[in-house]
Amino acid sequence: MAWLDSLSPQTQFVFFTLLKIACVLGPLLTLVAYAVLAERKVSALIQDRVGPNRVNLPLIGSIPVLGPFLTKLGFWHPLVDGVKSFIKEDFTPAHVRKIYFWLAPAISLVPAFLVIAVIPFGSTLGAQKMVIADLNVGILYTFGIVSLGVYGIVLAGYAANSKFPFLGGIRASAQMISYEIAMGMSVIPVFLVVGDLNLGKIIEHQAQNGWNVLPIFGGGFSAQSLLLIPCGVISFLIFFISALAETNRLPFDMAESESELVSGYHTEYSSMKFGMFFIGEYANMFAGAAMMTTLFLGGWTLPFLGLDVAPADGEWWKGLLHIGIFMAKMLGFMFTFIWIRWMLPRFRYDQLMDLGWRRMIPLALANIILTAAVLALTNR
């Protein structure tokens, strides 16, 4: 590594950042593809079906036990799905507004990836922090980017120039703007408790004082941590429900609502343009899951076996283990997302707005006051 040391600190920074971007984006896209497979398999199991089990690759398929097993698992389906969406006809209907029609898929894809930049997905490997951009305003940046996500959907609805996508776009804009408020308010208690906006610092605080969703271990059973339990649970639940709404997942998939609006904002899209909406949706889910893991479940830490501190020099296996812990928590959330989709029916539009404005936002406000009161009374 002599040539690395010979570089200037700035060049090293650029080099490592590019490396981290590559190491995050590649696995993220793979995970997105396999999340689609997981969605199909989990839905199949919940509905007593078999699910995708057809694709067989020539060489690997002939390995005795492994080949048939992977085929049965549907392991190669994401690969084939990807190829399919590239070689399908990319049809642009005559009546669409062309510029927006081409722009919308990209706009819905980019914010999802930008959010990942501030997520600390591991402790350290060598001297490098496992986060692409260690911003001091991490969470503010996240909310700024997440709110851009609505533009992709609204633009798609507008660009399609036909009624179902338009309705989908309108619904999505109203829904996402409403739930963003609840989402933003639900994390304020976290910052009241932690006192910092940097996501890395939030994880550090949770390692010392217990996870935000259930702050009982770590700092011991003080009166404060006991009193903070309801605050943590309420803000986690509000954040979780808002995350479902923000990512347009059932029971809040107003933007898509297949049974009413054909398929909502992406009705007129085909081929890879549709694929980009799809990737964007799942990448958004991953971003939401990663945010919840970081804010409420202690990120890459586990409160035992000494896994809650950054590894010392030479303990690179521990750094990898931390990344694994983070992934496990995130995938747990992904499974919950998928599970909920195949469990709950869609909310009616007015019920959705009612839940957002008349239940979630007041509850989140009350929770802020409650948390502040607890912190003031226990004399922090």
């Binding site: 919940i46 007593d48 599970w339 469990m343 709950l344």
Partner: protein, 185 residues
Amino acid sequence: MIVKRNELTWFERLYLPALIGGLKVTSRHFLNTLTTKTPVTQQYPEEPTKVLPGYRGAPYLVRDQDGATKCVSCQLCEFVCPPKAIRITPPGPTGKPADRTNAEKMPEEFEINMLRCIFCGLCQEVCPEEAIFLKSDFSLTGLARSEMIYDKEKLLALGGTHPGIQKWKHKLDEAKEQETFPVKV
């Protein structure tokens, strides 16, 4: 009928009982399918579909027990066929005689266009010689339209044999059965 709709209680309006109920149902189905491996799916091309008796599949011509063509080229099926899927070329005065006894003639060519056929079974019902039957085949495929027009050789090969040379016997039995009540099947 008037359905009495009870007011939801405070607890029920929290949406939690429905949520927990849903979690229970879905997790039970998930785990059951995962562990006992009894999904309801039929793996179609590997597991052939069971066709029940009385199913109306593709119409084929049958041979009698001696391997002779049963069809006598009366063209009743051609006339009755609603989508005009059947086309029969009769032998004419100079054509080949029938290859079985007790028959005047047999068709020179017998074509069924399987793309036109609606599998209604009228040809089987109208046939006085019991020469055409709707078999259990349901997945007919071809790479060209011309492949989907089945000629006489193909229909006879697919139809197999159907003994029972005594003309009208079965029809007579059927008619007699209907005179008594209840109908014996």
